[in-house]
Symmetry: D2
Subunit: 351 residues, 4 copies
């Protein structure tokens, strides 16, 4: 792989767009060649259109890159990372796929389309089989793949080894979500200082459906969803990064906490996704301390790609309960999408 | 009731002790006559020993009141409001009861004693029947009554009308708790800024047991606990006052959200506790707004004595889910204890 | 005063508009008759257009009031309280004044106009003399009066007794300002959690000029500005309400801290503004505690109308330093404007 | 330098002690060999005595290291980094110096001793000349050097180029300080959520004196303090790390902001301290953005060792004003002390 793969970032000015740029700086396989943005920003250098909100410095390589129209991505790039709002992504992503691009999207618009996979490479890399279905359906070379909603991410990774070993019947998930999940400017400060907001629009529906698709099987050219039920409560709290989820779970058979810990700790990536540049290590870290994980202390484990679990214990109703933490803008958004693109390269679906 | 009843506050320097003093200022029935505190503070005027942390001004009546030993309460007062830490309360409260005092305690030490009631006057005023059992058992005039842990408070009030009408099988409760619940200095700021702590020592055990005692029946001279199971996850968040709880509940029969709303909205205090000075009005407020209740906006409803419910909706697993908010240092601590004492007066068990 | 004076609130949906409505509920002299808002909200009931963000309940009297165009205020009301953004206020307020209204504005647009007073009734009630100049200049019955920027408010009240007694040469003021000063949604939560923003657009210019106009003298039909210099640093911090300002001040002669405390404590409102419904009591509260005032504990003193001072001590360079706190949306915005309108009534310039 | 220098950390359990351990992991010159702590922790492995509060993982090398008495440091180590509280440091540090150790202290206890330097290697490396005076005075091999208080640190670095080029007459410094500056548990969360505390015990005295010693000259075997006056206001705000200081400064001659920016940007470390392992690069970063520096975004510049300046502009009273930010637990505490020890090695006063 002598030459890097040229990539575009759609919606480069937003908070997820910025995170794509930051994480792709110095990436061994990908090189940012094209940034797109709103009509107002087109034609201007990135450093002027972007209100950069990350502690990491804006990479020099993008400072003077001129914002282009989304269509430009198709001419110059092979992969388009989409950080667009869902309503724009709905129309734009299929157009770019039709132009031949691999659209690796963080947007929710096409996640539940039958021929679009929602990917977590450490969980369901075989779901990229949908890509061939999709390109055949659409009679085109390009395609769309997605990563899940940021709250579903850590939850799904933590469920995978339990599902594999013990089977799952029911999951009740209550989230305490970070502010960066709402983008920028996102949540008004007056709404969250000394406060909790017990509602996030559209979020509970996503958490109750996306994990079932990801944990499903690819059979007869389609995804057969996992056969259990999730109930979600989603809350916003005064945390910058890192979604915490309290999980109560009923498995097919009775399960001891120490067995749950054992299967989570020993869970490994499928071989195809194990040694990619963004592969998490460990995939799941299970903490023993009674008051962990905590977002400020633990969100950066594994460069923000690891799923962190703690407080695994008996639930008197469901059988098992625990807490799971995941970095929502790294593993749950830009970092996850980059990991997806790496998987596509590894599988020779791109490049 | 021409003459006010003299009351003591045990542990007057702490955050709950301060709230007692603030709420009792100008109370129509009670008059603060005695403040007790640690050995270090005994003999000094309250204004010098207390690091007052409430926005409301320290009442003039207590500024120069000299801190005494706990024993002094027995000589001067009829009621002792206890804001002591559990470990001190364990030994001291029975001693004061033996001296003839009505000890109305916020401490957890004696809540689960068989002859000590945990009281919420809008829920189980008939549990004061245990007082007679207790005084007979101990062969003394004085006694101990308690209010529940602050997280159990709002949860239990919200469960009462559901239990009465629909029966309850299972409850999963996930809390987002305020800092004041940990007292002062309590939670270190570095532990909670940009953070969540998914653990509070001893709290889940309390939430899983206290509501069952309160929602139980007084039969054959004892409390028969309610016959359902509670599972709790308890979390600390960056909120000053107001505990939020996400509740998933399975009733005996299938239940529509609008029916749950109806029984919560129409729930009334039992007559004996309906028109006391601290009676909440309404007992339960059910909000229609999709993103409420929120602690900063709603904790002060009904002077902090009302239980606020919102987001009543279908739970795909348990049948029903909702959010409940309660002011933890008012309804959940000092205000609740004062309401308990008013009930005792109304029932002529005091005064 | 049997009949209440009908008043309008311009820009009723915003955070200051909401505070006007909340503070005017049950006002003895004024009655809200007209609410105005953006084109999008006109014709709709207030409860539908307003995202109410105050802990106090939305008054029933306004819930179904239909939002109107600004021009409607002139037909139905005598006073228009303006909570409009400065850019809109620039054009609209003169139009309403031309219709005969007393426009009592919180907007900055016309504060520095030569014939428009910036009023703090406890400081410069005599500046309403500009009203007659203004109506004569414009040949109309209506007029505009303003209250200062919220950071200038507490600072100016605290400077007044020092200026009167000791004279002032120089003031260095460094603010730590609350989020509500930026309106709603205002400051993004990601910009202020675990952060400080050391810049507020246009704020330093206002703090360096408005107090000089307010502390000036009305001579020869105009305001002669106070003859000293202010230097300001303005910062945004994670506080909901209450602006804190650190002040270093050089007086004409050397001044002892205890003398400064004495003149601030004994400062009284001019007689004309002393017993109005919104008059602060005390005007200035000087605290002795070494770590006060603090916004969360002290902003509500005097119903949010009192100016709170603390830490009065020697400054090794300027001679004197202290901390001043003022509630920015009550004394510094809506409450201040209402107090101004009361002064106009008392002086028979209105009603 | 084949063999690393063995170092001890005194007070290893506290927040600064932890930062020493984290920053010394993999240090090219120093190796942690000894940890000391309170009587209660002596004899136990570090992982059991330390409530680790850093996001970075506790280094494996110290997890099982057994906590020892302070005296043990003298037997095994050459350098002792002191993170002890001032009151303990007062007695213990001289004892260890008497044993022959180079005590590199973060404590304030001995900073103002005439023969103890307060060091910032990028500012005053020549002040280590006091070490020889000290060892001669005390007739011993060991000695104490200190780093300044964390608020003085960034302020002093920013003042140095201005003093060198323009001379300084007066400085007014108003701080907005992070919580980690108070150690752990430090500030109670209830004291700082939705709040500002305008007082930090002992802090203003330090900020008004320490910079003058550091910016003084070593003449005739002693430090002659810089000949200007500092006035400080110190405030605590809800920030985890990073002290922000608003500075107003009067120089000997009038000074343009662009000239101040120029001398700060081009300021270089003295050659002796320029290429040490912890040398900041750049020493001072001056930002052009109107709303920077901000602690959350900028505190990690130069691995937390750079001093960041912004908003350099005219002060209408003092001539010049600006904002300076410095990471208080890295540059302002443990990182600064390590840099001091590196300077001592470079100057062959250690090793």
């Amino acid at each position: 792989m002598n030459k890097k793969i040229p990539v575009a970032i759609l919606g480069a000015n937003g908070s997820v767009g910025q995170r794509f740029i930051q994480l792709l700086e110095g990436h061994p396989w990908f090189e940012v060649r094209c940034l797109t943005g709103s009509d107002r920003s087109i034609g201007k250098p990135y450093k002027e259109t972007c209100h950069w909100i990350l502690p990491e410095k804006m990479p020099d390589a993008v400072r003077n890159m001129v914002i282009k129209e989304n269509e430009a991505a198709g001419k110059e790039c092979v992969v388009a990372f989409s950080a667009m709002p869902a309503d724009q992504a709905k129309a734009v992503e299929p157009l770019l796929a039709a132009q031949g691009l691999a659209v690796v999207s963080n947007a929710s618009a096409h996640r539940m389309d039958a021929d679009v996979p929602i990917l977590l490479p450490e969980v369901n890399p075989e779901h990229t089989a949908l890509v061939n279905i999709q390109t055949a359906n659409k009679k085109q070379k390009g395609f769309i793949v997605t990563n899940p909603n940021c709250t579903s991410t850590g939850l799904t990774v933590s469920l995978k080894p339990l599902l594999d070993t013990f089977g799952i019947k029911q999951v009740i998930a209550v989230s305490l979500q970070a502010l960066s999940g709402a983008g920028y400017p996102g949540v008004a400060s007056l709404d969250i200082i000394d406060n909790v907001v017990p509602f996030i629009k559209g979020e509970e529906e996503k958490v109750e459906s996306e994990p079932l698709k990801m944990l499903g099987c690819f059979v007869q050219n389609q995804i057969q969803k996992a056969n259990f039920v999730i109930s979600a409560h989603t809350n916003r709290v005064a945390v910058t990064d890192g979604h915490t989820v309290c999980v109560s779970i009923k498995c097919d058979s009775s399960i001891k906490p120490e067995d749950a810990v054992e299967v989570m700790r020993s869970y490994q990536c499928p071989e195809i996704s194990r040694e990619l540049p963004s592969s998490p290590w460990p995939v799941i870290q299970v903490m023993d301390e009674v008051d962990r994980p905590q977002p400020r202390l633990d969100r950066a484990v594994g460069n923000g790609m690891t799923t962190i679990v703690g407080r695994v214990r008996v639930d008197p109703i469901m059988g098992l309960k625990y807490v799971v933490l995941s970095h929502n803008t790294i593993r749950g958004a830009a970092g996850g999408a980059i990991y997806n693109a790496e998987l596509l390269v590894q599988q020779k679906l791109v490049g």
